[in-house]
C-alpha cells in the first residue's frame, strides 16, 4: 500500500521476554501503545519504517497531481486540485510528527528519502499524461489508499491511529473529486471518454500493486499483524478494492483492462488477474518511468528551500535575543 514492503523484525512467541509478552498482551487486549510506553525495539523500528514510508508517499504523491494544477480545465477544478494536493502535504506532516514520537527526527526521515534509503509507494513513479489521469488518480489511487487507511485507524500505536483518523476524514473528498472528474469525462465527447478509458487502462494495474505483493510472497506480514500495525493481508485488501471498483467502472461505462475480471458467484467476489509483479519489483528497485524525476524533484525542493529555512531560523534567533535583551534592560 502506501507502505508496500515494510520489513518487520520480531521474535517468535516462544522466545519472548516477559516484557515482550506483557506488551503483546496489551495489544491483544486492544490497548493503545503511547510514545513513552515500553515497546520492543523491533516494534519501534518497524513502525518508523512503515510510518516513514507512508509519510514519504503522501509527500511524493503530491508530484503527479501538482503536474496538473496549472493546467486544470477550469478555475474550480484548479481550486479543488490545489486543496487536494495541500491535504496530501498535511497527511505527510501528520505522519512525520507521529513518527517523530518514536525518536526519529523529520529531517532524518527526509534524508533517508532523498538518499534512496527509504521508499515511497510505487504508484507515484508513473506519469500523469492527461487531465483524465487526475480523475483516475483520485478515484483509484486515493480509493486504494482509503482501503488500507480505514482499518489502520484501529492500529495499536496511538499517534499513528490518531493521524489515520484525521487522514481518513479528508480522504473521501479526494476519491469523490476524482470520480467526479471521471464521470464528467465519461459523459463527454467520444474523445473525452476515450481519455478516461485510457487513464483507467494505465492506472488499473499499478493501483492493484499498491496493496503490495501477493500474500504468498509477503514475508513480514505475520509479525506486523500480531502487533496490529498491519490489519489485513495484501490480498484481502486487493480483493476488496476490486469488488468495490468494478461496479464503479461499470457505472462510468468504462471497462477495467482485464478480460478475466468477472463476477464469481461461488466466491462472492470478482475474479481478476494479478498485476505484472515483475514490473512492480522493477519500479521498487528504482526503474519505474518516473523514479529518478520524482526523487530529483524532492531533493531540489529540499535543497532550494534550505536558505529560506535557515533564514527563518536566523530571524527567530535574533528576535529571541532582542526579547532577552529588552527583558534584561527592563529589570
Amino acid at each position: 500500500m502506501y507502505a508496500q514492503m515494510v520489513k518487520s523484525e520480531g521474535t517468535a512467541a516462544a522466545e519472548m521476554s516477559p516484557e515482550e509478552r506483557a506488551f503483546q498482551d496489551r495489544i491483544d487486549r486492544g490497548e493503545k501503545i503511547e510514545p513513552r510506553d515500553w515497546m520492543p525495539d523491533d516494534y519501534r523500528k518497524t513502525l518508523i519504517r512503515q510510518m516513514g514510508q507512508h509519510a514519504h508517499s503522501e509527500i511524493v504523491g503530491q508530484l503527479p497531481e501538482g503536474n496538473w494544477i496549472t493546467r486544470a480545465p477550469t478555475l474550480e477544478r484548479k481550486a479543488i486540485l490545489l486543496a487536494k494536493v495541500q491535504d496530501e502535504a498535511g497527511h505527510g506532516l501528520y505522519l512525520y510528527s507521529a513518527a517523530e514520537t518514536l525518536g526519529v527526527s523529520r529531517d532524518e526521515l527526509f534524508e533517508k528519502l532523498h538518499s534512496g534509503a527509504m521508499k515511497y509507494s510505487s504508484i507515484f513513479n508513473y506519469p500523469t499524461l492527461t487531465w483524465a489521469d487526475m480523475g483516475a488518480v483520485g478515484w483509484l489511487v486515493d480509493g486504494a489508499a482509503i482501503m488500507n487507511q480505514v482499518p489502520l485507524q484501529r492500529t495499536s500505536y496511538g499517534p499513528y491511529a490518531r493521524a489515520m483518523v484525521r487522514i481518513c476524514k479528508e480522504e473521501s473528498f479526494h476519491q469523490r473529486q476524482g470520480y467526479a472528474i471521471m464521470m464528467k469525462m465519461a459523459q463527454g465527447t467520444p474523445e473525452q471518454k476515450e481519455m478516461a478509458q485510457d487513464a483507467l487502462n494505465r492506472f488499473w494495474g499499478s493501483a492493484l500493486m499498491m496493496f503490495g505483493p501477493s500474500d504468498k510472497d509477503s514475508v513480514h506480514s505475520a509479525r506486523s499483524m500480531a502487533w496490529r500495525i498491519k490489519m489485513n493481508t495484501n490480498d484481502e485488501l486487493r480483493q476488496k478494492f476490486v469488488d468495490e471498483t468494478v461496479p464503479q467502472a461499470d457505472y462510468l461505462g468504462l471497462t477495467v483492462p482485464d478480460e478475466t475480471c468477472v463476477w464469481n458467484a461461488e466466491r462472492g467476489h470478482y475474479d481478476f488477474a494479478d498485476p505484472d509483479w515483475e514490473e512492480f519489483f522493477e519500479v521498487l528497485k528504482g526503474n519505474g518511468p518516473c523514479n529518478a524525476e520524482r526523487l530529483q524533484a524532492r531533493r531540489d525542493a529540499w535543497e532550494n528551500g534550505a536558505w529560506f529555512r535557515d533564514g527563518l531560523n536566523a530571524y527567530a534567533g535574533k528576535a529571541a535575543a532582542r526579547r532577552a535583551a529588552a527583558a534584561l534592560a527592563a529589570e
Binding site: W38, A83, G90, S97, A98, L312
Partner: protein, 95 residues
C-alpha cells in the same frame, strides 16, 4: 552538511467557542508566530478551530507511564466521590 532543525511545537485547538483547547498534534516551526501560521494550514483547513495555542514540545512536562499506578490507583477506591454512591429514595424527588 547538517543544518539546525526547526524546533517541534505541540498544537492545541479550540474547536468551538465554549470548548477547551484540545491537543491535535505537533509541527515544526522556527518560532511561535510561524508555528501558529503553520498550525492554521496543517490543522484547520476545514473550519476545525476558532483559536490556536502552540507550545514548544520541550517545555511540556509529562508524567511517566511507570507512575500510572501511584498517581491514579488511589482514586479507584474512593467510590464515595461519585453521586451514585448514595441511595436517595425516589420519594425525595429529583436530586
Amino acid at each position: 552538511m547538517t543544518r539546525k532543525e526547526w524546533p517541534l511545537w505541540e498544537v492545541f485547538i479550540r474547536g468551538q467557542h465554549g470548548l477547551n483547547h484540545r491537543h491535535v498534534g505537533s509541527l515544526h516551526a522556527p518560532d511561535a508566530g510561524m508555528a501558529i501560521n503553520n498550525a492554521r494550514d496543517v490543522y484547520t483547513r476545514r473550519n476545525e478551530g476558532v483559536s490556536i495555542w502552540v507550545v514548544r514540545s520541550l517545555d511540556i512536562a509529562a508524567s511517566s507511564p511507570s507512575d500510572k499506578g501511584p498517581l491514579f490507583d488511589p482514586a479507584e477506591s474512593k467510590v464515595y466521590r461519585h453521586p451514585t454512591f448514595y441511595d436517595i429514595p425516589d420519594d425525595v424527588g429529583h436530586m
